[in-house]
């Protein structure tokens, strides 16, 4: 009887094949002297060696160029202990290790009610996430309005934001499907919704700080930094599921993209700012009385500051 079944999921070929193995060690690689010969060009001639262990098996990296990844953690590992059902990634090929008695899902009916239930479940999660987004957005808009509110109009406006969130999540989902043959749509939509809500929240908090500090450049700087940090977070969270690179590399990618984007926005604003402005620019944020934590100065002190500004520009 076979000791181990190895499922080979060749990413490039989009095909799965199964090998029954009963003697150890099992050598896996691109070389023709292996027990299992792979065609993936990212796999080394001798990439991986599997040995039997007391419980399950032990996979050992045979000093390969691209390493061996635990699929869930997507971290490079030298030695990995495997039990039935575990997966590894070498090059772009997924390997799954199974005991011969590993249970399989019952056969699906040709017309399956479960797939409808699954679709409904997905739909309800998406619906719930978008509802949260719409509620937060409508509330934010309501706080900004000072005329009679047409609720339908507010909801309609928030639809644009919802559509953008779905679009953004879909793009990542598509990427996930290409890279990992999984959509992760619920997860990606949740990440997007959390990002948009957090961004609204952070912008509001910055406004309250801006009201107190009376400096346009500090509040602008805070907007850029917080905007950049949020972008890093959302990119990292999306890449975490979708991309097949190490966490460290994902963090680097997220940072590079985010700060490049922030720098691009900052540079565009700077480059397009007119060098002569007919009107004064000052810290103009006003917030309700409870939010003021800075005490007022006397008129004498204020005018003294004004005089020193005149002296400076003169």
């Amino acid at each position: 009887m076979a000791e181990l079944i190895i499922e080979v999921d060749d990413h490039a070929q989009r095909a799965r094949s199964y090998y029954s193995v009963d003697t150890f060690p099992v050598h896996i690689g691109r070389g023709y002297d292996n027990d299992i010969i792979l065609s993936d060009p990212h796999v080394c001639a001798r990439h991986l060696v599997i040995n039997a262990a007391e419980q399950g098996w032990v996979a050992e990296d045979a000093h390969s160029k691209n390493g061996v990844y635990d699929e869930e953690k997507t971290d490079k590992k030298e030695v990995i202990h495997l039990v039935s059902g575990d997966s590894l990634l070498i090059g772009k090929t997924h390997l799954r290790f199974l005991m011969p008695d590993h249970p399989v899902e019952p056969a699906r009916l040709l017309s399956d009610a479960n797939s409808i239930v699954g679709a409904l479940k997905l739909l309800s999660v998406v619906w719930a996430l978008l509802s949260i987004l719409v509620m937060v957005f409508v509330f934010d808009q309501y706080l900004m309005s000072a005329s009679k509110v047409h609720f339908g109009k507010l909801v309609a406006d928030s639809m644009v934001v919802s559509a953008s969130a779905v679009f953004w999540a879909s793009i990542w989902s598509l990427l996930g499907f290409i890279v990992r043959r999984k959509l992760f749509f619920q997860y990606l939509l949740a990440v997007t919704v959390v990002y948009i809500v957090a961004d609204l929240l952070v912008e509001n908090i910055i406004d309250y700080v801006a009201f107190n500090i009376n400096s346009t450049w500090i509040s602008d700087f805070m907007s850029y930094v917080m905007g950049g940090l949020l972008l890093v977070a959302v990119l990292y969270a999306s890449m975490k599921k979708v991309l097949l690179v190490s966490n460290k590399r994902k963090m680097i990618l997220a940072n590079v993209f985010s700060w490049l984007a922030v720098a691009a926005v900052g540079f565009t604003v700077y480059a397009n700012a007119p060098d002569f402005n007919h009107n004064p620019v000052y810290a103009a944020e006003l917030k309700p009385p409870f939010s003021r934590i800075v005490t007022s100065m006397t008129l004498d002190d204020f005018l003294y500051q004004s005089e020193s500004i005149i002296d400076k520009i003169e």
């Binding site: 004064p280 003021r292 204020f302």
Partner: protein, 420 residues
């Protein structure tokens, strides 16, 4: 024979001076016939294209070829003499170049000189006129040809820092700098501006008389520093009047504010009547009526301010402060300037306690590049003690020196007081 002719002509003019035209009902036709040789079109000509860049009118005021016109007619030439020249164009086809002899930027006057080939001139009349007197204005409107119009002398403007004659007659562009004359053919004012619909303004002739006498004593050549001096002296004069006067107060919402600082100030007010809007908004705006024209796109010497009162019981404090904040951000400067005239505003922003109430105040200054020691000042204030009501203040001063700007700001801010 020739001598006789000269003597006779001189005699005629000696007689003509007090009364150029015989007694009896004077017609515009007779006046124009007699005086047309003393009136000129003034042209500022662009050297590069050799075409007229601006036109106005002028008139001869001395035998030796002195012409009076408005400063604004020739201001382009004064600011860029290397780009333009000034010429006169007589009715009989005479023309030639003119040079600037003196300017009064505050009253918008300039005295020019050229070889005019003409000895006749318009005498100035300093004697007062009574309201309702028929007077005439001469000039070349829109370059269509020299015209004479008749109108009524309606006294001096009551709300004006600088005296101006209200002339009920239709002045048009191109007539600027032309003379306004009484029935005797003597100059009583200089055409300067119009508010449309037979509402026109003249500079009283006494300022021209003063300028001519000043010119005869002291010949000026450095007009840039003369303009600088006149603008500087004027702001001093103007601001000292404002600082020493008793400011009229008015109530807006729950706050007492100042309105007419002097009789010269004019104020307006309005309340929003939008039924969709969930708050009440009323504003009062006041301005000094006179500005000093420096060039086509640069004027100064104004003070104006505006108050916006908001009462928003129907809104939550967050909603109210959102619109309040937007309004606070929208203050703008009111005088026209270009980047060549002033720098960018630099602001002092902070929380200030005034008479027991807290305000957020932004006071911004920009310096004049060609007028040492002068600044535009923009003051924006928002009361921040109440959840559902507030007053926004926006005050602009154009072209004031530091000391007076600070003194005025202090008096102004101290005069705004909550009444509860």
């Amino acid at each position: 024979m020739n001598y006789l002719k000269i003597i006779l002509t001189s005699l005629f003019f000696l007689l003509a001076r007090p009364a150029a035209v015989q007694a009896g009902p004077v017609t515009a036709e007779a006046l124009y016939q007699t005086l047309q040789d003393r009136i000129y079109q003034i042209q500022v000509i662009d050297l590069a294209s050799n075409k007229k860049s601006s036109i106005g009118s002028g008139f001869q005021i001395t035998e030796d070829g002195l012409i009076a016109t408005n400063y604004h007619v020739v201001s382009e030439y004064i600011h860029a003499p290397e780009q333009y020249r000034v010429e006169y164009q007589g009715q009989d086809g005479r023309s030639g170049q003119l040079t600037i002899q003196g300017i009064d930027i505050i009253h918008d006057l300039a005295v020019l000189k050229g070889a005019l080939n003409n000895k006749t001139f318009l005498p100035l009349s300093l004697s007062p006129l009574s309201k309702g007197t028929r007077i005439f204005a001469i000039g070349n409107p829109h370059d269509l040809g020299m015209s004479i119009i008749s109108g009524i002398f309606n006294g001096l403007l009551e709300k004006s820092l600088y005296e101006k004659i209200l002339f009920s007659g239709a002045l048009n562009p191109g007539m600027s700098g032309g003379p306004a004359i009484n029935e005797q053919g003597n100059v009583i004012g200089i055409n300067v501006s119009t508010a449309g619909n037979d509402l026109s303004f003249l500079v009283p002739v006494k300022y021209l008389d003063r300028l001519v006498r000043h010119y005869q004593i002291k010949k000026e050549t450095d007009f840039a520093s003369q303009i600088e001096q006149q603008v500087f002296d004027n702001q001093k004069y103007f601001m000292e009047i404002l600082l020493s006067s008793d400011w009229k107060k008015t109530r807006l919402g729950d706050v007492t504010v100042v309105a007419e600082l002097t009789d010269y100030f004019k104020c307006w007010g309005k309340t929003d009547d939008d039924s969709e809007q969930l708050y009440e908004h009323t504003y009062t705006a006041c301005a000094s009526p006179d500005s000093v024209f420096i060039s086509q796109d640069f004027d100064t010497g104004t003070v104006d301010f505006r108050y916006d009162w908001f009462d928003a019981e129907a809104l939550s404090r967050f909603q109210f402060y959102n619109i309040y904040s937007d309004r606070f951000a929208g203050s703008f400067s009111t005088n026209s300037v270009t980047r060549d005239d002033v720098g960018n505003y630099q602001c002092n922003t902070g929380f200030v306690k005034l008479a027991g109430h807290n305000w957020k105040i932004a006071q911004c200054f920009r310096k004049y590049k060609n007028f040492k020691g002068l600044f535009d000042v923009s003051l924006t204030m928002a009361s921040i003690d109440y959840n559902h009501k507030g007053l926004l203040v926006n005050m602009n001063m154009a072209g004031v020196e530091k000391k007076l700007a600070i003194a005025f700001s202090r008096k102004y801010m101290e005069s705004i007081q909550w009444q509860n």
